[in-house]
Symmetry: none
Subunit: 265 residues, 2 copies
Amino acid sequence: MELSVPQFDVVSNLFSFTIATMGAAALFFFLSRPYVGHKYRPALMVSGLVVAIACYHYYRIYESWHGAYRLNESGTAYVPTGAAFNDAYRYADWILTVPLLMVELIAVLALPRGEARSLLVKLVTASALMIGLGYPGEISSDTGTRWLWWGLSMVPFLYILYVLFTELTRSLERQPQAVRGLVSAARLVVLLTWSFYPIAYAILTVTGTKNPIGQVALQMGYTIADITAKAGFGLLIYFIAKLKSDTEAESEPLARPVSTGPAFA
Amino acid sequence: MELSVPQFDVVSNLFSFTIATMGAAALFFFLSRPYVGHKYRPALMVSGLVVAIACYHYYRIYESWHGAYRLNESGTAYVPTGAAFNDAYRYADWILTVPLLMVELIAVLALPRGEARSLLVKLVTASALMIGLGYPGEISSDTGTRWLWWGLSMVPFLYILYVLFTELTRSLERQPQAVRGLVSAARLVVLLTWSFYPIAYAILTVTGTKNPIGQVALQMGYTIADITAKAGFGLLIYFIAKLKSDTEAESEPLARPVSTGPAFA
């Protein structure tokens, strides 16, 4: 499969942009921890870990893209070097970060211990299963095999959406009024960005895995979805943590304001 | 020794996954220090150092793996480049991290000084000796030599298990009830994951060092054992530190809550 120069470049540039975005997001989430209430710092910690892990993997993905293609003699197209572009970096990333995204969401809600644990077990298990079941299909170029694993991977995904839109709704009612809108938005980000992955995967199954436009579109789609689902979602988590911290500081006037706590943590 | 493309890839991908996991674990342990009591911060510091050292070595191991094999002309198999895959990175890692894992365990128990010192001297010396005695066998392809050093290395290992399951048990009785289960779990992780190394080594001695399946299995086994024995063990140490901090904060109601202590440790 040959790529035109703009096809190769747009993907390479987007990968590099993602390294910068994820790295900056990691710094922001880690360094913002002292400015939210103690209860919400674990959520920011996990947000930071997710984008730090993604930053590393996009570095590997960028290198793998450059290792898989080389400019031909005439400089008119990129031809395969023989080394395959390594899809496994995405899955190594997802198996670590996707369960952590669920941890991040539950952590910022600061639910009672039993309730948090029950939601965590369900969401973390289902999300790890979803990624694990997707991989055998991703590395196959056989249409039947691809659809089989796609279907199996959709089962835990639909279960996650079910948990988020039924059980989580009950927990939401105990959140401060101002926060509910943001949590609903975070849940909507999960629904929309996570839906993108099976759609992109299905498109490539239809176009065939050896189609250059299909491949470029898949890489761009996965990457934009990763930025939204990790850095964008993390930013929403940060705003929820900030809003809850401020609300609680107001209702406990004797406590020191959250944002003036020891700032060197 | 030739490797199939999937054989080469699975090891390469697992090495990369380990770099990400160890790096993320290092960030987590270092950044979590302010959220446990002062007494337990050294344990988290050491946990962080262990996984940071491992992250570095897995980067080297990944590079060495890619330097030892190259894709053949037809892209169907990986053939040796002539540069040997460097086992020494593992031993350099272990000689630093394995004694530190013992320090981590003793540190989180916060034992009286004399008792801690006595356990530390025994466990640190024995663990360094265990690694040092394993190396001459690891680099040999002679079956007799491999068994000799394997046997010598087993002596300090059995001594470590003896200390952990006799002397440490006496110290355990002074730990809070809630903590004892976690400390026992940590000790069990040492028993199970550390046993894995001599078993994997013995299997390779039996299959012969030039067997591709034996080599791939050994690399995967060592790597999974490293993740469990370092990042997994560190996480247990973190939970012990957190539980002990919370228990102590509750029993001293006049003290400031642990989590609001000076956050710069």
